[in-house]
């Protein structure tokens, strides 16, 4: 056939060169990460001559140091996680969830929500695909809650900014929310508030698994593209988040929150403010870091972050295609209450 002559053969780059290139990138990454603080200390305080103890000096240093650190963390993490996740897919997750009953199913769904590559822009087809294939409603919702709440970006940034204890608490807390909220919503028998066409959808055609048949070059290429596309999508959030964080860092007196916001109402207020805000973990974490530096309790801070990432208005508008408003309201309510409880609990524990 004549056309086949035009098609290049699959890439035959030698594995040695590929892995040498990857190792070089790893070395460059670690060097930059190590030099970040020293470089900005020198640049802001020595070269530009700002004083570290002044408001302006503190803010400017925080801004540049943080933006470099977070950009490096995000690049590294998204790359590695995309490669790992290229072995997993929504199709596999559904196959693993099919036939699970509620309870165990919710636990599985929350765990798979963390590791499955999933974009909230696919929430609707995935919802229909799960429900039409017989995955129970509550189990499906556990997956949809866990996926944005406990994701790789949140985990690594938390680890980079707060250490492993806070990260572990966050992961466990987020999983518990996804499991409990999904189980509660499942128990309420809300199938009548799902648009009827979902149950009538017939799945045709054979399912293809996107994770199958990829070469290492494919996976590395996908990872590079994912880094570019995520950074392109979130940089405005990142700038605003780090800018606000820097202003708080420089201008708000230390322990301001410790003096003004330790009452029980801190957590509900954080959730009320967090819900209408729409951002992702990358945008909200610099702000979270600055708030916590100024003495806002960890539970309150994490409740704020969870309500920003887990309850997003754009996703709800998408889900309105398949869920009636009553179910969306219930979903919001149950998740918000779960976040409240986790926030109170963390404030008690930490």
């Amino acid at each position: 056939m004549s056309v086949s002559a035009v098609v290049d053969q699959p890439s035959t780059r030698s594995p040695v060169r590929r892995w040498l290139f990857v190792s070089a990138a790893v070395v460059v990454w670690f060097t930059l990460y190590q030099l970040n603080l020293r470089w900005w200390n020198w640049f802001v305080f020595e070269l530009v001559g700002l004083e570290p103890d002044t408001r302006l000096g503190g803010s400017v240093h925080f801004f540049f140091y943080d933006i470099t650190k977070i950009a490096l963390l995000l690049t590294g993490v998204i790359f590695v996680v995309t490669v790992l996740r290229s072995f997993m897919s929504v199709e596999r997750t559904r196959a693993l969830l099919g036939g699970r009953r509620e309870g165990v199913g919710n636990v599985f769904a929350a765990g798979l929500g963390v590791v499955t590559p999933f974009c909230s822009c696919s929430a609707v087809p995935a919802f229909i695909g799960f429900v039409a294939a017989g995955v129970p409603l509550g189990v499906t919702l556990s997956f949809l809650i866990a996926s944005p709440l406990v994701n790789e970006v949140a985990i690594v940034l938390l680890f980079g900014l707060f250490g492993w204890k806070v990260t572990a608490l966050y992961i466990v807390g987020g999983m518990v929310i996804a499991i409990v909220a999904g189980a509660v919503l499942g128990r309420l028998r809300l199938e009548r508030w799902v648009e009827p066409f979902v149950f009538e959808t017939r799945l045709r055609g054979k399912v293809i698994d996107p994770s199958a048949g990829l070469s290492w070059d494919d996976r590395l290429l996908m990872a590079r593209e994912e880094v570019v596309s995520i950074l392109r999508k979130i940089w405005p959030y990142l700038l605003v988040g780090i800018g606000l964080g820097a202003a708080i860092h420089g201008w708000l007196p230390a322990d301001w929150f410790a003096a003004h916001a330790t009452g029980w109402w801190g957590v509900p207020l954080a959730v009320v403010i967090g819900v209408p805000l729409y951002s992702n973990a990358a945008g909200v974490l610099p702000l979270v870091e600055a708030l916590h530096d100024k003495g806002l309790p960890m539970g309150t801070v994490l409740a704020f972050m969870m309500s920003v990432v887990a309850l997003s208005t754009p996703e709800m508008i998408l889900l309105r295609r398949v869920l009636k408003p009553k179910l969306i309201a219930t979903y919001f309510g149950v998740v918000a209450v779960s976040i409240l409880c986790i926030g109170f609990l963390f404030n008690l524990v930490i």
Binding site: V3, S4, P125, A126, I208, M222
Partner: protein
Amino acid sequence: MDIKILGSGCAKCQTLERVTHEAVDQLGLEAEYEKVTDPGEIASWGVMATPALVIDDEVVVSGRVPTVEDIKRMLTAR
């Protein structure tokens, strides 16, 4: 040849559309294009991660944007 691009308008869906056009043009093939944005219809193809590419009523890619060369291979393999 009948080509459908499944996706609800995310950035990657537009990339997939562009890449597919490129592959078809490079091979000098004739194709009818259709953009499927309705989530119900997307789901009915068994697709749960967009964007997805359907060639002659068969899903060939889902959840990622392949390279032009990949698509050319899919088009000629038929």
